[in-house]
Symmetry: C2
Amino acid sequence: MNKKVIVLGGDGFCGWPTSLHLSNLGHEVIIIDNLSRRDIDNELEAESLTPIQPLGTRLNTWEEISKKKIGFYNMNIASEYDQLLKVLQEEEPDVIVHFAEQRAAPYSMKSPKNKRYTVNNNINASHNVLCAIVESGLDVHLVHLGTMGVYGYGTAGMKIPEGYLDVEVETEEGEKVSQKILYPTNPGSVYHMTKSLDQLLFQYYNKNDNLRITDLHQGIVWGTNTRETNLDERLINRFDYDGDYGTVLNRFLMQAAVGYPITVHGTGGQTRAFIHIQDTVRCIQLAIENPPADDEKVMIFNQMTETHRVNDLAKLVSEITGGEIAYVSNPRKEAAENELHVKNDLFLSKGLEPITLSEGLLREVTEVARKYADRADHSKIPATSTWTRDQKPGIPEKEEENLMN
Amino acid sequence: MNKKVIVLGGDGFCGWPTSLHLSNLGHEVIIIDNLSRRDIDNELEAESLTPIQPLGTRLNTWEEISKKKIGFYNMNIASEYDQLLKVLQEEEPDVIVHFAEQRAAPYSMKSPKNKRYTVNNNINASHNVLCAIVESGLDVHLVHLGTMGVYGYGTAGMKIPEGYLDVEVETEEGEKVSQKILYPTNPGSVYHMTKSLDQLLFQYYNKNDNLRITDLHQGIVWGTNTRETNLDERLINRFDYDGDYGTVLNRFLMQAAVGYPITVHGTGGQTRAFIHIQDTVRCIQLAIENPPADDEKVMIFNQMTETHRVNDLAKLVSEITGGEIAYVSNPRKEAAENELHVKNDLFLSKGLEPITLSEGLLREVTEVARKYADRADHSKIPATSTWTRDQKPGIPEKEEENLMN
Ligand SMILES: NC(=O)c1ccc[n+]([C@@H]2O[C@H](COP(=O)([O-])OP(=O)(O)OC[C@H]3O[C@@H](n4cnc5c(N)ncnc54)[C@H](O)[C@@H]3O)[C@@H](O)[C@H]2O)c1
Ligand SMILES: NC(=O)c1ccc[n+]([C@@H]2O[C@H](COP(=O)([O-])OP(=O)(O)OC[C@H]3O[C@@H](n4cnc5c(N)ncnc54)[C@H](O)[C@@H]3O)[C@@H](O)[C@H]2O)c1
């Protein structure tokens, strides 16, 4: 059954391939984006490793190839509420997929200005969407992208369930009563904190206004292209590698490809959850096809397919590519080592067949990292945003000298 | 030991008497306020029952009487970050008491605009304060006013502890591990939701930047004047009675005084926690005198002294005043009846001797409600902000007719 879907943040790394995937499936897709991610590239003087095209070119190319039209509104959903409401009233979407937040933890820690931008942008974005849905009176299914990082990674060996925890609380009479609560969060950065605030916004609007909401707690996305973005070079997806926006696995791949040391922060004992971009778009599809019932609580799924220690990933990439590993100081404030046990039964039970690292990694090295290696700006690779004043950026010694030359 | 204290929101109902109390004790007090509460009075065409004076007059009067100077900056802390930081750098306070938020639940539910204002104002205000403390590098003790309403009142008979809950979570191996978490929240309005977001901000900045924070979960404040505001008519404190800002007990008192029905929302089976304004200022003093240690978690105290069913309060006020009770429809979405068992051992153990309702109520009726009854605008009494479209405002039948005439 085809639906009308608004994709907030549809020009981004996850939003663009999701828009194409949903359009390809026959849904009517409309993108809302203020292109702030491209503006931040300008601000950081960084760029996608892959040559992404302006959104107009992307949309025209897609229409040319697929004969399908994707709509677009250039709009800041955190500050242009009246316009957002108007689009909802006019377009009457069945589903809103909400990717439109500042999503880099290091960027959120870069300076007081960045902390404040991240909180202001993300909270007002999510809250405006909720308000606008209520004010429109439409029965919209909201699908939001959260992160597994809200739980923090400090507590060794904890099983991360899908969203909720049963706890016992005591009554005055000493009786134990069972209660289902949001799994307690322990966010590791200002960015992650905004996602744990988002959870409370969703919980409240679900309770007060019966909004139907799916919150996807996503792991770290790796890979670049999907079936649709591969159809034409002009549809190519974003590949971030800079110290602020590049995520760990993609950074390793590109560092190896350009002959930069593979930089492991701290001991590399951190365990993280991963998912391939192709599986991200499949999961969004599954979430749309399985909306919550009318009176259901916020549905929370863990959107990830495998967990790995950062150090093991570095070794794997090093084996494939011959790249050398450098252990650098960790600019983040986090546990040096942790275990991670994540439940992802819900997506698996709905038919997700994950792309594993072992099958996809080599392709990523040859088809993306090496292919575009000459576009890389080495000076943008180090992770320079630190969590507190006392911490040091993650720069390999060898490169520190290069930077000084 | 005298401290330098900045009082954010020092022109408000709690902030003004707190500023005077702290100044009287010998602390150096500086008020920051953007006077938004007075602007909202203009917007709502409502007014304090008591004739509050402009802040300039208040401050001059205090200097005249006490020979003590209270400083003042007119500043919006949610939007004027650079100015806020500058004041911190220049004044180097030991303590910041943070009252500066939009604090009325009905106002927060009045319209999408009000919901958005409340979220934007309160979250950015709190976050800016946290950011500015970190950026200033000062060792400041932040005392924030939260609310007991974050817990919601749905769950019958729950004992509300002071902030934290011990829960058991399961490891992969099926082992149970104990963890101390923020007591799970279940806020009853957008306003209350902002306070549960605040909690996560405090938790994060305490963890990442070791900020020392006390979060006071306050009950409903009743009463008007304190020892200091009683010293001169020009120091008189605010008394809100309108449908948006008036809190339940003060509303009952003034309704009785002006011959308006005492309006109970729903059955009146709701149990709420209360504290007298004189005890509020004492609690703030105690919080300042007992700051958290350097590496301590956010300290959370329940700032309340007694709990009552709304219906019992209405009967009590009716007995004292002869006023008639009217049961009206409840504009809020909340449990019709609830129990409430609150721990407040911490303040009691630190020497608080509460003013009880039974001793203070009559004085409030004669010295405030009846004295200023002629200032009341009856058309502002009904609670007209509803929680959802399907709900009705809380207007007594008799008055509905009056309103239509
Ligand atoms: N990439 C990952 O590894 C990852 C992992 C977990 C969760 N997520 C979440 O998935 C979502 C999408 O991530 P991404 O990697 O595609 O990020 P991205 O930055 O590439 O895309 C976000 C898009 O939203 C837009 N945007 C931001 N604020 C906006 C606003 N106020 N109004 C309109 N548009 C706005 C940006 O311009 C950008 O195009 C984010 O919420 C992120 O937190 C991503
Ligand atoms: N009054 C109660 O019964 C009660 C109960 C529980 C908790 N509280 C909490 O105590 C605090 C104080 O409550 P109150 O009754 O004194 O409220 P109030 O509205 O009378 O006072 C708040 C003051 O803060 C100022 N303010 C608001 N936003 C500001 C901003 N962005 N910049 C600068 N100043 C700003 C207002 O102008 C006002 O003077 C609030 O946080 C409230 O949530 C109050």
